[in-house]
Symmetry: C2
Subunit: 813 residues, 2 copies
Amino acid sequence: MESNIIYVPMALAIVGLLFMFIKMSWVKKQPAGDEKMQSISKSIKEGALAFLAAEYRLLLIFVVMASVALGVVSYIVPTTHWIIIVAFIFGAVFSGLAGNIGMRIATDANARTAEAAKTSLPHALKVSFGGGTVMGLGVAGLAVLGLSIFFMIFLKMFVTGEGSFYEEMTVALEALAGFSLGAECIALFARVGGGIYTKAADVGADLVGKVEAGIPEDDPRNPATIADNVGDNVGDVAGMGADLFGSYVATVLAAMVLGNYVIRDMSATTQFIDAFSNMGPILLPLVIAGVGVLASILGTFLVRISNNDAKESVVQKALDTGNWVSIGITWVASWFLIRWMLPMTMEMKFFGEGIKVIPSRHVFYAATIGLAVGALISLVTAYYTSLGKTPVLKIVKNSSTGAATNIISGLAVGMKSTFLSVILFAVAIWSAYVLAGFYGVALAASAMMATTAMQLAIDAFGPIADNAGGVAEMSELEPHVRERTDILDSVGNTTAAVGKGFAIASAALTALALFAAYVTFTGIDGINIFKAPVLAALFIGGMIPVIFSALAMESVGKAAGQMVEEVRRQFREIPGIMEGTGTPEYGKCVDISTKAALKEMVIPGLITIVTPVVMGIGTALVNDDFLLGAEVLGGYMAGVCVSGVMWAIFQNNAGGAWDNAKKSFEAGVEINGETFYKHKEDNPSPPHQAAVTGDTVGDPFKDTSGPSMNILIKLTCLVGLVIAPILGGHSSEEGLANIEDEVSIEMTLDAKDMAKATVNYSTVKEGEKVSETIVFEGTEAEVKKELEAFEASIKTDANKVEKVIKEVKITKE
Amino acid sequence: MESNIIYVPMALAIVGLLFMFIKMSWVKKQPAGDEKMQSISKSIKEGALAFLAAEYRLLLIFVVMASVALGVVSYIVPTTHWIIIVAFIFGAVFSGLAGNIGMRIATDANARTAEAAKTSLPHALKVSFGGGTVMGLGVAGLAVLGLSIFFMIFLKMFVTGEGSFYEEMTVALEALAGFSLGAECIALFARVGGGIYTKAADVGADLVGKVEAGIPEDDPRNPATIADNVGDNVGDVAGMGADLFGSYVATVLAAMVLGNYVIRDMSATTQFIDAFSNMGPILLPLVIAGVGVLASILGTFLVRISNNDAKESVVQKALDTGNWVSIGITWVASWFLIRWMLPMTMEMKFFGEGIKVIPSRHVFYAATIGLAVGALISLVTAYYTSLGKTPVLKIVKNSSTGAATNIISGLAVGMKSTFLSVILFAVAIWSAYVLAGFYGVALAASAMMATTAMQLAIDAFGPIADNAGGVAEMSELEPHVRERTDILDSVGNTTAAVGKGFAIASAALTALALFAAYVTFTGIDGINIFKAPVLAALFIGGMIPVIFSALAMESVGKAAGQMVEEVRRQFREIPGIMEGTGTPEYGKCVDISTKAALKEMVIPGLITIVTPVVMGIGTALVNDDFLLGAEVLGGYMAGVCVSGVMWAIFQNNAGGAWDNAKKSFEAGVEINGETFYKHKEDNPSPPHQAAVTGDTVGDPFKDTSGPSMNILIKLTCLVGLVIAPILGGHSSEEGLANIEDEVSIEMTLDAKDMAKATVNYSTVKEGEKVSETIVFEGTEAEVKKELEAFEASIKTDANKVEKVIKEVKITKE
């Protein structure tokens, strides 16, 4: 039975998806309100689905091109099977499907939440969180299901027992990387496109509607209001969903690849055998993910309130309870799973330290660290972005001296928030590594990601509540409905900020696990930044997130500008809009956001995908040195990760803090003894205006460029992993063919015991045989080391060089 | 004669200082204007000197503490001589002296420039640039003189010929590192303190004076106006001078250290001999620096204009001519110097590639790359920050939709400017390294820094002209005086931005050269970021510049807040200020800026100096592994450099662009067919107000946190270099003592040719002898590699381990 454990995550994923369907039909059965509400909800849904359809059409071109590129890879690298293309396409389709399910339920749930809020806040929470649950389970269920099915197929295809288990499993996991790559590519475009869409519509609607025309948010007279509500779904629901789908798949994949290395290390002397078809360490992360789906389902039952007059804190507590219970269940379950599925002790190779014996409980500790760090980084994020806490209060206070001081203190808050986050993160890497190597790091990430379904349910409920408020406003429902949805919306804002902290923490750990898998895969001796080309690549990598952010921000600016023009035009040209007698052309605004988002997402997307290929393969070809290419690409990846994490935390938290600094004025804030409220014509409030400026700057920070950093770093490492076979690893056998004849080495020692080794060898370059000579000088030990390094650099495991280095004749001068 | 070449840079430095004195007395002989002008100039001078005096008093405490710490280092490390303390103190004193000379002449030259501008623009340029020349030559002359004298003393003390040349020279250069450390520490505090001072005064004066009271800039009724003018000197003159003094010394030092490695590599088989007391590669950078001083003097003669009605472009051209001629002379001279002082071909050890034969002309090419990259990065900086260029125009255009869009586009400009800068920079590292290893990188930096005297003259003339305008305004001189000083000031703004580009480029290359020196010094096998602790350190390093910037920005905010309160108080309490009948208490404002700057510079300064010590030595002690400590510190250094360079470029260029976007409104700008000017009560200009907001945000960016990044990265690497002997290198001999007995290794091969090596050895830990065992498994080749790595990790060049590894008995099972 145990050898069929691969069916366990598959079954759990199916349970998750079944529960999702039940929840979905429950939500759809709820009353959707009067005709006007339904019509508004329908417009939002149509706009959102139209964007998705247009996006998928564009991505189809990309998927075709990327498939061709993957075809080339599989043609060049003998061990990369063409099936990777199929996996890639399915990864893309599953990611799209997950986004689609989320988007449909979110746009169905908004009017129903508003309708429920007419009578009951607890029921409104149930409907909106029900929508979130559908989204979360859809993403997690599809991720686990897709991974399990493809892994099972690839096992059957490649792990036949004819060759070495490690080699065969590597081929299978490489194909599985295609699935992850497909998912992450779609996620990138969904995040960037969605982020641009939502902020263009938001800024456009606000600048002309609120500021110029003086009508409230979500007013049906504003032509951009439907686009604005569509944006919430496109950016926060579909974008976030695709992001976490990608993270989830990549994390599990990375842990599986590292599990394969554990098995290899343990098989060095005697064949590794366990009750799980000899692949316990590989299957463990998949099983933990499956159990996480179950834990999330259990947690959702606890998200409920009973008091119709509940405030934000009660709603927040209900969500927290559900979240903590899910995490707790996963934590306890992982203890049993690790005990059950891993050998009591494992031998792991630590770079430069040889093999260490690791008890399986260390892996559990690493998983615990992952869960703890996920929770702590969420707390840090909450501290820096929450209403009433010191950082936000500081920004509020600095709003009294104008927009400039508001901006400066917001930037400073974002920058300072990197401190604790990075320290936590560094401690996590270091300690998980010390406990159980990079497998420990990957398991920490897997444990953190296991409750993705719950996290996403909590995240997605926010935009649903936000939209419900929009529907209530546009349908001119009674004020108490809006008040209730506002309570949910306000909690949603906090969970959104916290969710971003969680997303970046998981992305960073995932990227590191992928990075470790990459290095091991290429077979290079680590990434040494003392080599100038690697150092240069580190700098270039560090620059990419900065440029990416700049492009994303500029795109929002451009798209928002077009939106402003269009809204102004409609106010000017359509008679009776302001009086409510003329109907605005909502569709035109939706079109503008859609087109701008699709156009602007192309360049950042291509930079992310193409640059690592250029850095790695370009360096390899120019220098005719594939291992240098591999190391340069590794340096680039590290640069992207370090800089990307910093800019993600900075932008997300600065944006979140600015947002809540602005919100603080709704309840009124006291600055130097004077109380300020929201700015109104008859009651001016310059500090609030300054805070609005800060919030507008923060919008693209927190909703476009900031969250894109996660995908940037993960996708960079994934692309590296997929092209790794070209740069090293399996292709070494081809490199071997370059060495002709035996290598001759003469070594002499002079009177002072200084050695000099002359190495003669010949290679075939462009069909011609070329003789080359290298001289090493130094102490005997130094020269021997150089010889070893030389041997590694020509990359051969044949005996040709080996033998002679061992048998070097030492001549005393 | 040639063996006395050490006297050449010394003599050239003295020539530079003599020329400085001549220029100084010429400037002082110029008429200083009427009594009012002299009194204002005197107030500025007194305020500036009072700040310096207070700063030096505080730094005295720091120097004493650091000296004690260095004493501890020299006590622990047998090869670190206590003389490093003396060198450190002199480095600090020389740096202070250079700042003092610059500050005195700048505050003398301001009124004299204003007086000259009464009659002649060419003469005003001559006076202000004369002041800048004094500053530039003072800094460069003292740097070269200090380095030459101390190097000569240390040569006499340590390079006696009794031991190995390399070892003795290492001791001498280590002591010289103390001089550099002293200079850089003072530079850090001068930059940060000066940056906080100048922006606190500037923002304070502007917010209350210009915005609230509606009086123009530099109006004598504004109590903060003297503090504002003092700030220009304290920040732009003394801060910049100390920064470049530190860079200059550090660059030359790093190149000398790397020159010593070149000699070591070449002496591996036969003793290196040349006509320069066998130390041509070490002396070369010093001689190039000396020649650069001469080239700068020659260049200053070309900075002149003849037309009294000249515009900015003519002044700019005069400065450019002087600059390019200096660079050209240095370039040509370096060709001859390199040909003369270096052997025709050199053998250099490339990490992982063995020894390569490098012709000396490759070093010249590397120097050329340094000069070219310095010039190109300046051009890139100019493009992103100049009036009339696309980036600034974009910000101007975005000012029409409010402060938020102005801020977003300014941030985007700063971020985008990292692209070309980093690419140039990566190409420079990579190509200089390929040409001549890290010695090539260091020589590229040295060549770039050689014309520091000229660069600084061009930089320092700006604040002098700015102050001259202030004196003219406060003394109520005729408008044409202010117009003329404004022309000079405007050119000065461009040169300031360009100077910042140059400063960051040189700082980055210097830091890399120091980084290379550090790695070689500690004797570690490079910095491998595939080890999780090193990777964690890379992240922590990447976070430091972000936190540093946040602290610096917040400090400006705090200090500016106090200034605002004080100015408001004076307006309120001193009768007749606004009518011009009451005299404001200028001194109180000067005091506030002084105290705030001194108080706020402490924390960022300590973070910079203490963190690398904690990372390196902390890791070493906690893990009882000094080489791991060395590698972790290396990862930290790399993180600081990568992130620091990015944030420096981002902040400097965003700040510069915002500044000039605001300035664009002075001549009027056309946005969407409408022309906007500066905001006035009777002629409101919302876009200009938005641009002023952007400029205020940019002020701390470009004058406080941005420029501090240079020193942060250099000082981090210098601290690393100074503590390197504790972590590795010489202390390895102590580590050696830890290995007791011979190391026994048994190696077995099983039927499948898989090897297993069991290593038994014993060490002494805390006085007790402990036996340890390590097992390596894998293919025979893998195990051998692990054994080599193990050997390297226990760090011994004795034969104890060596012999046994060579003689490993292989048993067939």
